[in-house]
Symmetry: C2
Subunit: 362 residues, 2 copies
């Protein structure tokens, strides 16, 4: 038996009802049903309709299920970029999307600022011919965040043809996007949705669909079984082209149903209240400093701190108390810690973590 609470930035603590839902899924043999059956379509529809309600998506949006956020990066470039993409880069994940565009033979340009800093959008110059602008609402590696209000205004800065993609991998469902002002967002389920890994959620509007169809009609290859048109033709019949991760779609529907009962507004308020507890402690701690200088750019869902004691030492000292936090990412592995603040984490758990950190490290 493992009694640890995982405050790691993903995979992270599971939503508390997940083990019970998995047991029900096994009792009902969900792992054996056909991915073309009405029973599966109902499961798929339940997950999609729950997400539509939770995120309040307009009618011109569709929800596509792929395997990971990494896959979304690749499919986005294949389907929506013929020549050129543009990336705001301030950490490892925003940089990886930029690299993937290059690996797929596109011209990728970037607007790069140092790790841990947020963007002043007024300064960003978007190249004229950009077909896709990659924004990162929450840079999981550094904890630098872009306020949803800034993202909702970004359209003014770009050419009318450009598609605005927003990485919400480790922040959804927290950020409140104006879905009329962006064209795509995506996330993976093992972060804010508190599920086991193995499913990526890709939200696209009709402009993304039209661009994919335009590239296809020109004879460009936009992939095969997971092109936007291929995904969409099945998604609208509540299926996937391939046999998907059925159990994950089942669990997603169950957890999103519970989130909807709770209410997304409440989830957002609670996220901010819990983040305030963590940042409040970090600001006065003897050992930790808030990593992101500008308060408006501090992530509400993945809180990063510089640490005087090595991250390994912090993690080790928390272990006897069944609390797990993340080390820093990449070059910051030793000198930073990362604390996830997802809907699965209760205020009481966050308070207990902060209490213990204060006791151990001042």
């Amino acid at each position: 038996m493992n009694n640890k609470i995982y405050f790691t930035p993903g995979p992270s603590e599971l939503y508390p009802t997940v083990p019970a839902h998995l047991a029900t899924a096994m009792a009902n043999k969900i792992g054996s049903i056909s991915h073309r059956s009405q029973q599966f379509k109902d499961i798929y529809a339940h997950a999609v309709n729950g997400l539509l309600q939770l995120l309040q998506l307009p009618a011109n949006w569709d929800i596509l299920f792929v395997a990971s956020a990494n896959e979304v990066w690749e499919r986005a470039i294949q389907n929506n970029v013929e020549r050129e993409s543009f990336h705001l880069v301030n950490g490892s994940f925003s940089k990886r999307f930029y690299e993937i565009s290059q690996e797929l033979g596109r011209k990728a340009t970037k607007w790069e600022i140092p790790f841990g800093q947020g963007f002043t959008l007024a300064e960003v110059e978007v190249p004229e011919k950009t077909e896709l602008v990659a924004l990162v609402q929450n840079e999981t590696s550094s904890g630098a965040s872009m306020p949803a209000a800034d993202i909702n205004q970004f359209r003014e800065k770009v050419d009318s043809e450009a598609l605005i993609y927003v990485d919400a991998v480790s922040s959804a469902p927290y950020p409140e996007f104006d879905f009329n002002q962006i064209d795509s967002t995506y996330f993976s389920v093992q972060k804010g949705f508190g599920l086991p890994a193995g499913l990526g959620i890709w939200l696209v509007n009709d402009r993304c669909v039209a661009k994919a169809e335009k590239l296809k009609s020109k004879g460009n290859s936009i992939g095969s079984y997971h092109s936007i048109p291929a995904l969409l033709s099945k998604a609208r019949a509540y299926q996937n082209p391939e046999t998907p991760n059925v159990l994950a779609i089942y669990l997603l529907g169950k957890v999103v149903e519970e989130m909807n009962h709770h209410g997304v507004a409440t989830i957002r308020q609670e996220t901010e209240a819990k983040a305030k507890v963590i940042y409040g402690y970090l600001a006065e701690s003897q050992n930790f400093d808030i990593a992101v200088a500008e308060p408006a750019h501090r992530s509400q869902t993945t809180v990063i701190a510089n640490t005087k004691v090595s991250s390994a030492e912090v993690i080790k000292k928390l272990a006897p108390f069944d609390m797990v936090i993340g080390s820093g990412y990449g070059n910051y592995k030793d000198t930073q810690i990362r604390i996830a603040n997802f809907p699965a984490h209760s205020l009481a758990q966050i308070q207990a973590l902060v209490y213990k950190l204060r006791e151990l490290f001042g």
Copy 2:
């Protein structure tokens, strides 16, 4: 509570221990652990080492984890075909691989025979410049199978540069390949391994790796996070580039461990013994006929029969007895039935199904 036994060709009956392993995974919080942790690497290594033992892979082979067999088709073309692939087509799935090659802009050619027939390999003429030959050991749509002995001799017919790919999606671990005579094989876990869907297993030898690296060094795009080199660099450290379906890899390791205890030779013998029970009944049935005429080409793992009563009626009449079989595929939906014979299906279950079919339909 669902007490049905699924004889469907995948998703199918889960290996009987899967619910217990999932409960253990939840108790140990496997869904929350980091995909870069030693704990995860041990889980990954356990699954890989189990497969190495089960399939008796030589040292020049690697095991890669992707999301589905559909993904293997796409990655295979991206990584191993610059211009031209060649496909033996005798059903819906072998045809789909051929189409995917075309969708990715390659010249795909095919050697096509009617649905439900098997290949006489002596007749097949392989084009000279083919870089990849796609064989299908078991055509899930039609139940036509290619004996492993034929596959093991196929190398003689092809150019020395060509890579031989073998679809064992719905037959592994049954077919006994000579891994020195083929270059890649692949399967998904929701068929012969009795697991929930959401993981594709791609086995490649060093020739596949070398070809991918050659294309990359020439400046060809071979994909991004799931190119062979990208997968391999992480696989050899027991990880994936992205956060993979951790639970599925955990379950795979557990089920393969049990298969190894049972012994692959025993599994193969039992598969043949169970198939004999089904085919024996079909041969003398009043309502059913074996769909594949040539005995040597009859699948041992997905048995297909023509039915006089519609497949819907057969499925409906079995339902009160908690037995589920598959309808025919595509155009054969009404006129054929499909019965899976995987390691998760016991001889007693197969006997009970045959007994009931005889009682209901003669």
